[in-house]
Subunit: 523 residues, 2 copies
């Protein structure tokens, strides 16, 4: 007997098993799961009354507030497709994504009503504008609509191959691409996460990762699946993170490396508040071993690195702890934890291959591209057969990430393929060089790029952000790097910079650094 694999089945079960458990905390608001799903159902009913039908797209522009979380249930249970948009994007990106997705409804947080009003003329297909918080002329008041609508709607039949969400990637150079995630994709990512990262209804999950980011790495559903609590934090600066963890007894969070760095380098008075034993999942970019060591050693938290991309729902590997790792000294363990690890049990077959699609040797040295086939791989890019074919036309999704395989089978990303520096015929992984510089006590962040060189083709150039109050010279850092790196990998030049240019999802924009357009600091 087959029933569809869908996160909506988690919701069905949680309604039944955990109605009285805390579902959502946001400031002073507390909802149990009965109340939460009642609200979702009311919103579904209202959306259906507005004319939303199976297959229709509903866009969201919002930080981590409960009204946003409700969208991940209210929209899909109508058979409709949620389109979570990165709220840090520009108005023109908003317009592009809304128009490209063909959304009939746009739901926005109070902070983004003005931006959307600016682009109304560019998104003629949108029939309804919903203010998730706040009120404004021309906007449906979400709370009023939820309050006024009975929780009854016509339930469509949903197949596991149906679209659940379209998640637009924040392109660094090209237009955003719409990643089509099916119910089966998302279900697999949630269940796959739980197989490796055991969670129960006792968990209290802190939302620092934006929900729009690959559906919060599917934690919008994973947390609900186990009957745990969602603790919403619209603005996750280090102070709020530490204070909320303490106040709400949060014990679990997902964090991009930017947030991790913020946590590792938070002022002593904040870090003192931190309870031990908080579990952290990190992904999005390889964290430095130094950051991991600091958070695990000083705070007593437990970091697990997971790797993936929006196109794979998003997890395809996890740095699985093994009994033999437990015996290692902290430094060596952090080095292993900085690796991307091994494929999850149910995400699919992950390989690192050369240009002829042969597996690279497990020597920790030979670079290949990470490719994957499995149930987490997206259905394709929305309305974009050319890019879909480029990415997965041969039956494997091509990640664009350059990695090595260690003798123990653990994969370690060395770079985006386009960021590999080729110097004198040798490959230099910018991430390897960055990892070394990050171990210097004065260094907060670093980005290494290749710059043209007449003799070597390219040579590495490092952009360094120093910690507040710390000082270091170029020579000192070069000397530091020379002690730990082959000579040809040591940056030819080091530039100090106040802030690294980043995309809206926090990824460093190396193309900006290469183009010399960075906001170079004073030193």
């Amino acid at each position: 007997m087959e029933i569809p694999l869908t996160p909506l089945d988690f919701a069905r079960r949680t309604r039944k098993l955990y109605p009285e458990r805390e579902a959502v905390v946001e400031g002073t608001l507390r909802l149990n799961y009965r109340q939460f799903f009642e609200r979702c159902d009311r919103w579904s009913a209202h959306l259906q009354r507005l004319g939303v039908r199976p297959g229709d797209r509903v866009a969201y522009i919002a930080p981590n507030v409960h009204a946003h979380l409700e969208g991940y249930y209210a929209v899909p249970q109508l058979g409709a497709v949620i389109v979570p948009i990165n709220y840090r994007l520009s108005e023109s990106d908003f317009a592009y994504i809304i128009e490209h997705s063909g959304a009939r409804v746009v739901c926005a947080h109070a902070d983004y009503l003005v931006a959307v009003d600016h682009i109304r003329s560019q998104i003629p297909g949108v029939e309804h504008f919903v203010a998730l918080t706040g009120q404004a002329p021309g906007w449906i008041d979400y709370e009023a609509a939820v309050a006024a609508t009975a929780a009854t709607y016509t339930k469509p039949e949903i197949k596991e191959s149906d679209l659940l969400s379209i998640n637009y990637t924040s392109g660094t150079t090209a237009r955003p691409k719409g990643v089509m995630i099916t119910h089966r994709n998302a279900w697999t990512n949630s269940v796959g996460t739980l197989v490796h990262i055991h969670m129960t209804c006792a968990e209290r999950y802190l939302w620092t990762l934006p929900m729009f980011h690959a559906n919060g790495w599917t934690f919008v559903w994973t947390v609900t699946a186990v009957g745990a609590a969602h603790i919403c934090l619209p603005k996750p600066d280090p102070r709020s993170v530490f204070e909320t963890i303490a106040a709400e007894k949060a014990n679990f969070l997902c964090a991009a490396p930017t947030i991790l760095i913020g946590i590792a380098n938070a002022p002593e008075e904040l870090r003192r508040q931190a309870p031990r034993g908080v579990r952290v999942i990190t992904a999005g970019a390889p964290p430095a071993a130094a950051t991991i060591e600091r958070i695990e050693g000083e705070l007593g938290w437990e970091i697990t690195q997971v790797y993936g991309l929006t196109e794979v729902s998003p997890f395809i590997s996890i740095c699985e702890p093994r009994p033999e790792h437990a015996q290692l000294p902290p430094h060596a363990r952090a080095e292993i934890k900085a690796r991307q690890g091994v494929e999850l049990l149910i995400s699919g077959d992950l390989r690192v291959v050369d240009e002829q699609k042969r597996d690279v040797p497990s020597d920790g040295q030979t670079l290949g591209e990470i490719v994957v086939r499995g149930n987490v791989v997206m259905a394709g890019y929305y309305r974009d057969p050319v890019n879909t074919d480029n990415a997965m036309g041969d039956g494997w999704f091509h990640s664009g990430d350059a990695a090595v395989v260690h003798p123990d089978g653990y994969v370690e990303i060395r770079d985006r393929f386009k960021d590999v520096i080729i110097s004198g015929g040798e490959n230099i992984s910018s991430i390897e060089v960055e990892g070394v510089l990050l171990r210097h006590p004065a260094v907060q962040e670093v980005a290494v790029v290749g710059v043209p060189d007449e003799k070597w083709g390219e040579t590495p150039l490092a952009f360094v952000v120093l910690k507040k109050g710390a000082a270091a010279t170029e020579d000192e850092l070069k000397q530091f790097a020379r002690e730990k790196l082959a000579r040809f990998k040591v940056p030819q030049s080091i530039r100090f910079i106040a802030e690294l240019p980043k995309t809206a999802t926090g990824k460093i924009q190396k193309y900006v650094l290469r183009g010399g357009r960075a906001n170079i600091g004073k030193q």
Copy 2:
């Protein structure tokens, strides 16, 4: 992108990630996963050479030996169907199952070669007989075949809806029925187990549960999935269990209640050897709270009860620990642990319904039947459309188990529907009465059945097995029951008996007791 959900995908991954980890221990034999899968591949190649094609059935009659375990990979990876037969059945049952399944190959352990030879004339469809251990005329020598065959075979395409196994239930009154388990069924049960019961490659799993029993509750695949070790124990008497746990550092096992009772009542000198922290999954029949309390309290082991039937791959509920249970005193916690609990995250929708298919109230009192729909529900009974339709024709699989739902949503089985005793219009759960008598210090096992009564319709009759060296009178036990049960539930009569009649899978045959055909003891 969809790839089939199949336990064979676990094997693909484990070959890649855990080649050097211990796969199988059996006496002095030790195989790592590379060696284990090499043997499976060789056996697949040999089977293919013998003419086994996708869809063909291959029967196994064997205790928990590694050659049996290899069958759970070698057969399905050919697209063929494994038919594991309960080795405790009679020769005529062997003949019936082999013939009914249409097996072309029968693989048997040395202990069963003679039995199979006796029935050769009744199973004309079998083309090849394989001695997994031992040698005999007319039997292919498994070890010789594995040694002589190269590990190359033609891999078929496998769909997740394809049949993986046919597991014959040991009927108490009727002929065995062939439960058709698909690749998706088994995959779901294994993954569902891992979501709730976290296992890693550090686990050392002891085989006390027979593999033929619903594919060892799918642990033939679950253990491999996480890269853990299978410790095979062909004869799991309490002494071997305790000695093997100590010698092999086993830390995990599955056990039917019969084995649990054996463990709880093992001699002191054996129990002294037991390391603390062993995890035990129990299912197959509701264990008594007293047994749970004893094993948890005295041995320091951790028992989790799971409930299911062969027809549901086999798990549909788990007694999920909740934070609030941790605060309870041991006795109260054992009472909860004796419940069947709540549906697993991915097994499917479990309901307890009355005859009109309405959910019974969550009052801990109203009896209903457990029904389920989901991805663990079998494809049907093999070559038996009538029984298939009876069991699941309405879209729900009907378990035949009578249960109540407690206010916390936890389901507790009170009886097989046919074993409920109706006395003076009141339902009496034989299991409830048994649970009370089991708390008496002299009682080892007990079975309660209804006997006809002119005044009340039926009244309860208890059959009691006393512990070795213990004594108790009928009046003493009745008095003990009166203190804990409503008067109408107290057995009218108690008979002492040397041994309870059981099926080959260890289930008590109440129909034998009702018929008065039990081997009544001396007292």
